[in-house]
Amino acid sequence: MKTPLPKLAAARDPWLELQRFTAARIALGRAGGSQRTATLLDFRAAHAQARDAVHAPFAATALLAALDSTGLTGLLLNSAVTDRTSYLRRPDLGRILASTARQTLTDLTTAPGYVPPDIVLIVSDGLAAQAAENHALPTLIPLVGELRAAGWSLGPICVVPFARVKIQDEIGTLLGARYSLMLLGERPGLSAPDSLGAYFTARPAAGCTDADRNCVSNIRPAGFRPPLAARKLAWLLNTSRQTGQSGVALKDTQPDEHLATT
C-alpha cells in the first residue's frame, strides 16, 4: 500500500554532477521548495564540527618544536588574552601583547649587536587552532626560502596564541621591522574548519589600519595551497618593497599564469 520513497541519489537534483567543480552545497534536491531531511542533518553535523573547532586548544609548543626542527627560530609570545572566552568577547585584548611579551621583545632588541630585521613573521591560532597547527609550517618554509633568496633579513618567527591581526603592528614596531606578516586561523566555515589567513603591512605602527594591510585568505590544501600562497605573498612583498606601499595602494597585478606554471 505504501508509496515507495525515492532513493537518496534520486532525491538530489539532476545537475548533481556539477559537484565535481565545487565543494559548495549545490544540487541538494528539495522537499517542496525546502531542504530535504538528509541535507538538513548534514548541515547540522558540519555546524557542530565547526563549533567544536572554534573551541579547540592550540598546541603552540608543538609548533615551536616543529619550527626548531626545520632550522627556523621560533619565539613564544602571549597576547593580553588568557582564555578562549575572553578571546571571543575582548578583541581589544587580542590586539596587544602581554607586558611579559613586551619585555621579551625589548630585551631582545636592547641586546648588543641587535639588527632590526626587514620582516617579522608571526603565527597565531586565531579562530582555528588546527589551521595554524597544520598549514603554518607548509606556508612558512617556502615563504622564508623565497624571501631569503630575494635578500630579506628575517626576525624570529613569533608564535602568539589568542592574537588578533593588529598585534602585528606592535610586534613589528618593537622589533623595528620594516614589514610585519601574520598567519592566523580564520573563523571556521562548515566546509573549511582549517583555513589560514595571511596579513602584512609595510612600516608596522600603532596607527596602521586595515587599509594598510594586504590579505591572502583561505590558505589550506583544498583552498589556496600553502606553497602557492607563499609564492603569492613573496610576490606581493617584493612588489611592495619596490614601491614602499602596502594595503589598498598595492594592487595584485601578478598574472594568473605565473602561479599556475611555476
Binding site: D13, P14, W15, L18, Q19, F21, T22, A23, A24, R25, I26, A27, L28, R30, G32, G33, S34, Q35, T39, F43, R44, A46, H47, A50, R51, A53, V54, L88, R89, R90, P91, D92, L127, E186, R187, P188, G189, L190, S191, A192, S195, T209, D210, A211, C215, V216, S217, N218, A222, G223, F224, K232, G247, V248, K251, D252, T253, Q254, P255, D256
Partner: protein, 459 residues
C-alpha cells in the same frame, strides 16, 4: 549647550552627561557597546535612558552633532543635506512622540517617503531604540523603496535574492556551477555577486567577464557585481571591464571609512564612472553598499557613539549615492559585537527599519559565524520577521554555507520558504524570465527539471 540629561525612575535619579552617552545607554543590550564601554551598567539604567531619550526633542539632534562637524565629513554630509521643509511635519515632536507618529494609521508610504530627507540618522537611531521588534516591523512594512538597473527591485509583495556563488579559489567552473544551481532555484534577481578570494585586478576582470557572458548569453534580467575594493573596481572599469554595479563597504564615520580606504569623494568618482557606462536597461542605480553594526568600533573610529547609531550614519553615506542595493551583513562581524541569536535578530530588524526610514533599498544578509552563539533556527526567525517587514532582498547561498567566507547565511531553499509562507514573488522582469525558462510556475513553485535544461548546456 544643553544641560545634562536626567530622569527619575522609582527613587533613583539617573543622569547622562551627553546625548552620545544617552543614546549608548538607551540601546538594547549588545556585546559591542559593552566592549566599547558605552552600554548601560544595568537594566534599570537602560530603561531610565530610554525614558529620558523619549523626552528629547527631535530638533535637538540638529543642534547637537554627535561627532564634530569640523573633523568628520559624514557629519558634514548629514547637516549640509538636511531638508528643513521635509522635516517640518515632525519638527515639534520629541523622540517618544515621533514613535507614536510613525505608528499612526495615517502615516503611510507617501508620508514616510516625503519625510526621509528631513530625517538625520541620529533621529532615526534614537526612535529605533524606543521601538519594540513589532514596531520596527510595522513601520518598515509601510515603506517601499523601489530601485532599478536591469530589473525593478523593492515592489510590493516582491522578495529578491542576491545569488552568492563564491568559490575559495575563484575557480570559474566552480562559480558557474553555483550560479546555475541558484538560477535553477529561481534566485539571483537582486544581483549575482562574487567575493573574490584575492583583490587583484586581473582576477576581478576575469570574474566580471564570466558574469557578463552568462547574463547576456541567457538574457537574464539581472545585474552582476564582484566585491573588490572600490579602487580595484575603478581600475577594472578603466581597463574596459564590464562593471554593472560598484560595490563598497561603508561605515558611519570618516575615520572608519578611511580604514576601509574610502572617502565620499572616491565614492562619488566611482558612481560617476559606473553611470557613464550606461549598462542599466531599466534604471541607473549603480551602487551596492554593505554595512554592519560594529564596523566603526572594529576600526577604532566610533568617537564614543554606540554601534547602532554609527550604523545608521552609514546609511546617510549610502543615500547620497542612490544605491540599487544596501545590505546589512548583520551577523558576520562576530560575537564581540552581536553576541547571540537574540542580539543578531534585534540588530537585523533595527538596520532594516532605519535604512527604510532614510529611504534606502534595504536587504539583509541574515547570517552568523561559527564563533557566535547562534544557529540556523535563529536565522529562520530573523528571515521570517524581515519578510513580514518587507525587506527588499535576502541572500541565496548554496545550502546556506559560504565555502569561501566561512559563515552561514540563507539558502536558495530559504527564499522558497519565505515566498510560500508570505506570498512573495521575484522581481517582475526576472519572474517573467523564470517562467520563460520553465524554472518556476505561477511566480513561486519550482518546476521539475531535467539535466538537459538550457542553463546546464555549457557544462
Amino acid at each position: 549647550m544643553s544641560a545634562a540629561y536626567a530622569t527619575t525612575l522609582g527613587r533613583t535619579r539617573h543622569t547622562f552627561a551627553s546625548l552620545r552617552e544617552l543614546l549608548g545607554k538607551a540601546t538594547p543590550r549588545r556585546s559591542g557597546d559593552e566592549l566599547a564601554g558605552l552600554a548601560a551598567a544595568s537594566a534599570e539604567e537602560r530603561a531610565a535612558a530610554q525614558s529620558c531619550l523619549a523626552d528629547v526633542p527631535l530638533a535637538e539632534f540638529l543642534r547637537t552633532p554627535l561627532i564634530p562637524y569640523e573633523t568628520d565629513e559624514v557629519t558634514r554630509l548629514i547637516f549640509d543635506t538636511h531638508d528643513v521643509q521635509a522635516f517640518a511635519p515632525v519638527a515639534g515632536l520629541t523622540v517618544g512622540q515621533f514613535r507614536d507618529w510613525l505608528l499612526r494609521y495615517e502615516t503611510d508610504d507617501a508620508t514616510l517617503a516625503a519625510l526621509a530627507p528631513g530625517l538625520t540618522p541620529e533621529m532615526v537611531a534614537a526612535v529605533s531604540k524606543l521601538m519594540g521588534n513589532q514596531d520596527l516591523i510595522l513601520v518598515a512594512a509601510k515603506r517601499r523603496v523601489v530601485t532599478s538597473f536591469r530589473n525593478t527591485l523593492g515592489l510590493t509583495d516582491r522578495l529578491s535574492v542576491r545569488l552568492q556563488p563564491n568559490h575559495p579559489t575563484d575557480d570559474p567552473h566552480g562559480i558557474a556551477a553555483s550560479i546555475a544551481d541558484g538560477l535553477l532555484y529561481g534566485c539571483g534577481d537582486a544581483v549575482i555577486r562574487i567575493n573574490p578570494a584575492t583583490d587583484s585586478v586581473p582576477a576581478v576582470e576575469t570574474l566580471l567577464r564570466l558574469l557578463d557572458d552568462l547574463i547576456h548569453r541567457y538574457a537574464i534580467p539581472t545585474q552582476s557585481c564582484v566585491l573588490a575594493h572600490i579602487t580595484t573596481t575603478l581600475q577594472a572599469m578603466q581597463r574596459g571591464a564590464p562593471v554593472d554595479l560598484v560595490f563598497q563597504s561603508i561605515a558611519g564615520t570618516q575615520a572608519a571609512n578611511q580604514s576601509f580606504g574610502v572617502s565620499l569623494a572616491l565614492l562619488g568618482e566611482a558612481q560617476a564612472a559606473a553611470q557613464a557606462l550606461r549598462r542599466g536597461t531599466v534604471g541607473n542605480n549603480v551602487m551596492y553598499f554593505e554595512t554592519g553594526q560594529g564596523s566603526c568600533l572594529s576600526a577604532g573610529a566610533h568617537h564614543g557613539v554606540d554601534q547602532q547609531t554609527c550604523e545608521v550614519r552609514a546609511y546617510a553615506v549610502a543615500r547620497a549615492f542612490r544605491p540599487l542595493l544596501v545590505n546589512t551583513v548583520v551577523g558576520f562581524i562576530g560575537p564581540e559585537y552581536l553576541y547571540d541569536g537574540k542580539q543578531i535578530i534585534r540588530a537585523g530588524l533595527e538596520d532594516h527599519f532605519c535604512g527604510k526610514l532614510l529611504g534606502l533599498p534595504m536587504g539583509c544578509d541574515v547570517c552568523y559565524t561559527n564563533h557566535a552563539e547562534a544557529d540556523q533556527d535563529d536565522m529562520d526567525t530573523l528571515l521570517t520577521l524581515l519578510g513580514v517587514a518587507g525587506c527588499n532582498f535576502i541572500m541565496g547561498v548554496p545550502g546556506a554555507d559560504d565555502i569561501m567566507l566561512g559563515y552561514q547565511s540563507t539558502s536558495f531553499h530559504d527564499s522558497h520558504y519565505l515566498r510560500q509562507v508570505l506570498g512573495l514573488r521575484p522581481a517582475p522582469e526576472f519572474e517573467a524570465w523564470l517562467e520563460a525558462m520553465r524554472i518556476v510556475s505561477g511566480g513561486r513553485q519550482l518546476l521539475p527539471l531535467t539535466a538537459d535544461h538550457a542553463l546546464l548546456s555549457r557544462f
